[in-house]
């Protein structure tokens, strides 16, 4: 009879484990505690350093158009990172780039596969091989987690082009890295935060403490310091340690963390936390603080419509543009012509202007942007602390 009992016991406990995993994400609730409202001046009063002069034509939008590219013989395979289409973050951005390329160049849409949360390295390799064998070309692997898989699979399919988003460590003929200067875009987010704070304290909420997210932190901190010197304090916090990717998908945790940062005096929060960002904005909305979005223009995102007024701007990481440009380049046969890094100078990163609340400081932001593009300001990609 022990076997029977052991089995049932084990089954019950298994169910328990699954259930616990299932309810890890619970609602955050809205404890309305007032934001630290002691003292504080007007927005902009914390800025101590003058912004570099803005260029003459600030309103000029550079959009790349490849109107006459014919990519009808391409079949684009898209291997997503965890989350896949609909994550309102960079998987969606990559998908948007592919959709646009399909529409404009007549390329064929090939396979799309999202990665499972805890899949093994071999599953990623299998996915890429499968796509290559089904005639997908080019294949776009979204996320640096694919680096090892691409390194192994790409040499086996020399006639297939691979693009790897967020990683440039793979050195192969048919692999094109699509990497971004996250720290430069985040620098501008930092400048914006410095101009918008009235408490002289701002915060950064990182999803998972990985080297990639630390670039956002580094840029943000330098941007704040560039505008406000030592007059403005930056608090940086992460939701989970490296390896625990739940930090990118835990709005409740982000909400609690943001509330505590706000109650400690930060009144502008910049997040680089994927889907957790919603929690940051909700905390800001409930406590008279402001938020800065990440990756795409979050002011315009439908899922965030309720809290969009607090999203003063978003740091843009234009994965969609990079993917779109990449497909065009492959169609024209020269993917090596793409920028080595999508930075401010090629508008691979930037900030959004859709919220009117940013209008009063766009001159300053454009000034800093020009200074970075011209090389007068160098942005480091590792945090000071």
């Amino acid at each position: 009879m022990r076997r029977k009992r052991g089995g049932a016991l084990a089954a019950i406990a298994m169910a328990g484990v699954l259930a616990m995993a299932g309810c890890a994400k619970d609602s955050g609730g809205d404890g309305n505690q007032a934001a630290g409202d002691g003292g504080g001046g007007e927005p902009g009063s914390c800025v101590t350093n003058e912004a570099p002069a803005a260029p003459e034509n600030t309103q000029q939008e550079q959009t790349t158009e490849h109107g006459d590219v014919d990519a009808s013989d391409l079949k684009i395979g898209l291997a997503f990172d965890v989350g896949g289409r609909g994550d309102a973050s960079f998987n969606d951005a990559a998908a948007a780039g592919v959709d646009r390329a399909v529409e404009e160049f007549g390329a064929e849409k090939g396979n799309e596969s999202p990665a499972a949360g805890s899949e093994s390295e071999a599953a990623k390799e299998q996915r890429l091989r499968q796509m290559a064998e089904q005639g997908n070309n080019p294949i776009i692997a979204v996320g640096f987690a694919y680096a090892e898989a691409v390194r192994k699979v790409a040499p086996q399919y020399p006639d297939t082009e691979f693009a790897l988003v967020d990683d440039n460590s793979v050195d192969a003929e048919n692999v094109t890295p699509l990497v971004f200067a996250e720290e430069e875009g985040s620098f501008l987010a930092g400048v914006a935060a410095a101009y918008k704070t009235s408490e002289c304290q701002v915060g950064f909420v990182g999803g998972v403490k990985t080297p990639l997210i630390k670039k956002f932190q580094a840029g943000f901190e330098q941007g704040v310091k560039a505008a406000g010197g030592d007059n403005i304090e930056v608090k940086s916090e992460y939701l989970t340690p490296a390896g625990d990717i739940s930090g990118f998908n835990d709005p409740a945790k982000a909400n609690v963390k943001s509330k505590s940062m706000i109650s400690q005096g930060s009144d502008v929060l910049f997040h680089a936390a994927g889907a957790s960002g919603q929690g940051v904005f909700e905390a800001a909305a409930a406590n008279d603080a402001l938020g800065i979005g990440v990756d795409s223009d979050q002011y315009k995102q439908k899922t965030l419509a309720d809290v969009k007024d607090v999203i003063v701007t978003s740091m843009l990481k234009k994965v969609d543009v990079a993917v779109y440009d990449y497909v065009a380049a492959v169609a024209e046969g020269d993917p090596d012509d793409l920028p080595e890094r999508f930075d401010l100078s090629v508008d691979g990163v930037g900030y959004s202007k859709s919220n009117p609340a940013i209008e009063d400081i766009t001159d300053e932001l454009e000034g800093y942007k020009k200074a970075i593009v011209d090389g007068d300001i160098e942005v480091s990609d590792t945090p000071q602390s």
Partner: protein, 363 residues
């Protein structure tokens, strides 16, 4: 004596039931179940999927063994997950730092892995034995803590190295790697398969041919009865937990020493939980666990194959879930059927009058 019907019928029933249920799910989602099953079957003959299935099964087998050792003693070691990840990161760091001649290097890494796994199981074991704290609670907490430990250790300020945007440990030198078994086009089988098979045999031998194994099983069945026979339940719980942790320490070794040579921030997680399911499927029997591990790995691989014909990969997850649940139910049904048959047999032998105790009747 093994009753083959009792042993093999339930898993077969469970698989059939899981197939039926996933067929329903497939039909609801508008896909053809036959296409799905054909694709799943065909993947084995395509490229290196068969070999990579076996490779994954080796990992699951080790995790299953680790869990099964605990089950034998009625210890529910959910901490296999934390133990293997802790052991993997420690072994990878030590292995990357060590300079030793070929075979010694591998042995040293394996010893470190087993020791670290056991060490990570020591705390819950001691708490259970001396304070009666449920190992389920403590190991779950330690699973959570391991995230922090791994993140800390593979930080460049400690022992980590930055590659692109990924963090990992130092690479283990060729002397510390276990060569694979090349199978040509089909890929490379982990050399660790030999060690895994030996462990499976060792597990069987320990349980069925040694005094220790007998005592372990005895106190798992009834602590008081075993204590009356002079077996210390405390000692057995401690031993089961530590051996379980030690074997868990090996879970990541096939991949670490046979393929990756580093332990990275993006390393796969969740093998420990799969191990629990695999041990349950295999009913703690070494051959059963091997079967469960292969089945589970096959279904995992199917998830990716199904994507290629546009079927959501969650179908594979549905099948895995149904199999685990239905295998427990099926064992119970078959057991009751056997019991009823036995009672009828005894009843017939007694010619209608109640059987005496000597004939197997109630006291």
């Amino acid at each position: 004596m093994i009753n083959w019907r009792t042993a093999l019928l339930p898993p077969a029933l469970a698989i059939v039931f899981a197939m039926l249920l996933s067929s329903v799910a497939l039909l609801i989602s508008g896909a053809n179940p036959l296409d799905a099953f054909a694709t799943m079957g065909a993947q084995l003959f395509h490229g290196n999927t068969a070999v990579s299935t076996v490779n994954l099964a080796i990992v699951y087998y080790l995790a299953g063994l680790a869990a099964a050792i605990g089950f034998q003693m009625n210890v529910f070691n959910i901490g296999v997950e934390g133990q293997y990840r802790f052991a993997a990161v420690v072994a990878a760091i030590v292995g990357g730092w060590m300079q030793l001649p070929p075979v010694l290097h591998v042995v040293a890494i394996l010893v470190v892995a087993v020791a670290s796994g056991a060490l990570y199981a020591l705390l819950p074991a001691l708490l259970k034995v001396y304070r009666g704290v449920s190992e389920v609670i403590t190991t779950i907490m330690l699973n959570s803590i391991v995230f922090g430990i791994v993140a800390f250790l593979i930080n460049p300020e400690q022992f980590g190295v930055l590659h692109g945007n990924n963090l990992s440990t130092e690479e283990i030198a060729p002397s510390g790697r276990i060569p694979g078994i090349p199978l040509g086009e089909a890929g490379t089988l982990f050399g660790f398969v030999v060690i895994a098979a030996a462990l499976g045999y060792g597990y069987w031998f320990m349980l069925n041919r040694t005094r220790f194994g007998f005592e372990l099983k005895a106190s798992g069945e009834s602590k008081t009865a075993a204590a009356a026979g002079g077996v210390s339940a405390r000692k057995m719980t401690l031993a089961a937990m530590l051996i379980s942790g030690g074997v868990a320490g090996l879970v990541a070794m096939p991949e670490l020493l046979g393929r990756d040579y580093v332990y990275a921030m993006t390393a796969t997680q969740g093998y420990g939980f799969t191990g629990l399911a695999v041990a349950l499927l295999g009913r703690n029997h070494p051959a059963g666990i091997a079967f469960g591990a292969l089945l589970w790995a096959f279904l995992d691989r199917s998830a990716v194959s199904l994507e290629s014909i546009g079927i959501p990969s969650e179908i594979a997850t549905i099948m895995q879930g149904t199999i685990v649940l239905s295998v427990v139910v099926a064992y119970e049904i078959v057991r009751r059927a056997d019991l009823a048959a036995e009672q009828r047999r005894v009843g017939r032998a007694g010619n209608g009058r109640p059987a005496s105790v000597a004939e197997g009747g109630a006291v």
